[in-house]
């Protein structure tokens, strides 16, 4: 009998390539309140949202130089929520005048067996940390103000230590590839936050150890 056609990787066509546009900065704890106050005024009117997340960074070392990095994140304030797996590609080099860091982004929601599954695939956990802070939205833009804590004992999120006396601020937008107006909007928003905080484009390659 004739076999029905076997589909060939249906996902290579039809999925939208999502890009993450990112600007980062930091603010000392002493200036945090003023920043939150300004963000409450500038951003969409909604209940202030706080979060506490635990993120694990997994690496897959291949034969080529660059290891494959996956970030697995879970909420400590909502333990039953699914895990969030994120892949971030290499930053797009191109237009030097583009104001934000642009990279390919794949987000996957996953069940609680994610760390075991990644280990079975060959990924190894490189480091983990806990972040907690506030999240604001303005249209498609998302502003996250958080402090980052080091996990002292692997797997134990109760015992953490603040990494610094400042908060990390990230302004990001998730948009389909090819939308160049996004970074303009981000830059003008970032202007409104000066001089409290200077949000700039960072170079992730300079941060690898």
């Amino acid at each position: 009998m004739e076999a029905p056609p076997v589909t060939v990787m249906p996902i290579t066509s039809g999925t939208i390539n999502m890009m993450e546009y990112l600007l980062q900065g930091s603010v000392l704890d002493s200036a945090l309140e003023s920043l939150l106050h300004r963000l409450r005024g500038l951003c969409d009117n909604m209940e202030p949202e706080t979060f506490t997340d635990h993120e694990l960074v997994f690496l897959l070392k291949g034969q080529q130089g660059n290891p494959f990095i996956l970030r697995a994140r879970r909420s400590l304030s909502h333990p039953t929520a699914p895990w969030h797996l994120r892949y971030l590609g290499q930053p797009e080099v191109g237009d030097k005048s583009r104001h934000a860091l642009v990279r390919n982004c794949v987000d996957v929601a996953a069940s609680h067996s994610l760390p075991d599954f990644l280990n079975e695939m060959g990924f190894r956990m490189d480091h983990e940390f806990v972040t907690s802070g506030h999240i604001f939205r303005k249209g498609a833009m998302k502003v996250v103000v958080c402090n980052v804590s080091r996990v002292l004992v692997p797997g134990n999120t109760e015992n953490t230590e603040r990494m610094s006396l400042s908060h990390l601020v990230e302004l990001s937008v998730l948009a389909p590839a090819g939308q160049d107006t996004v970074s303009e909007d981000m830059r003008s928003f970032a202007e409104q936050l000066k001089p409290l905080i200077h949000l700039e484009k960072i170079d992730p390659s300079k941060q690898r150890h």
Binding site: L60, L85, D107, D116, E120
Partner: protein, 139 residues
């Protein structure tokens, strides 16, 4: 749903496929090992039946039939009823209680979890993989 034989099982959304494509350069694509099962889904009162053709590298290897009895979550309690129902269309080829349920006598079948269903499909595919098709080597 992603499953390692005898290992952890992951449930993820459709973007997981996109991620797998990105990982292509890190893993060897097991080209000869892709098994696919496609078919139709039927509903008969409280039963859900999925009948599919199992293909491996574009050649048909067999037919799969999945039967789910929706109202009951304890496999041991409804197995006899399911047997009778399966007998009505499969005749005497009725299988035994699947090993995934035999292993946990007090266990509940959780349809949302799908692990048990996926494990059974994996066992079926492995069985079909080992099966030699008579006459397949004849020119």
């Amino acid at each position: 749903m992603a499953l390692f034989e005898g290992g952890p099982c992951l449930t993820a959304d459709t973007n997981f496929d996109v991620l797998m494509v990105k990982l292509k350069s890190h893993f060897q694509n097991a080209k000869g090992h892709k098994v696919e099962c496609r078919g139709s889904r039927y509903r008969y009162c409280d039963f859900l039946i999925k009948v599919g053709t199992v293909t491996m590298s574009s050649s048909a290897r067999g037919i799969s039939a999945e039967v789910e009895y929706c109202p009951c979550v304890v496999p041991g309690d409804c197995w006899n009823l399911m047997r009778e129902f399966i007998q009505s269309f499969l005749g005497n080829n009725v299988p035994e209680l699947p090993t995934v349920f035999a292993a946990k006598p007090e266990g509940l079948f959780a349809p949302a979890d799908c692990v048990d269903t996926m494990t059974q499909y994996l066992e079926l595919f492995n069985k079909l993989r080992k099966l030699q098709i008579p006459g397949s080597n004849v020119r």
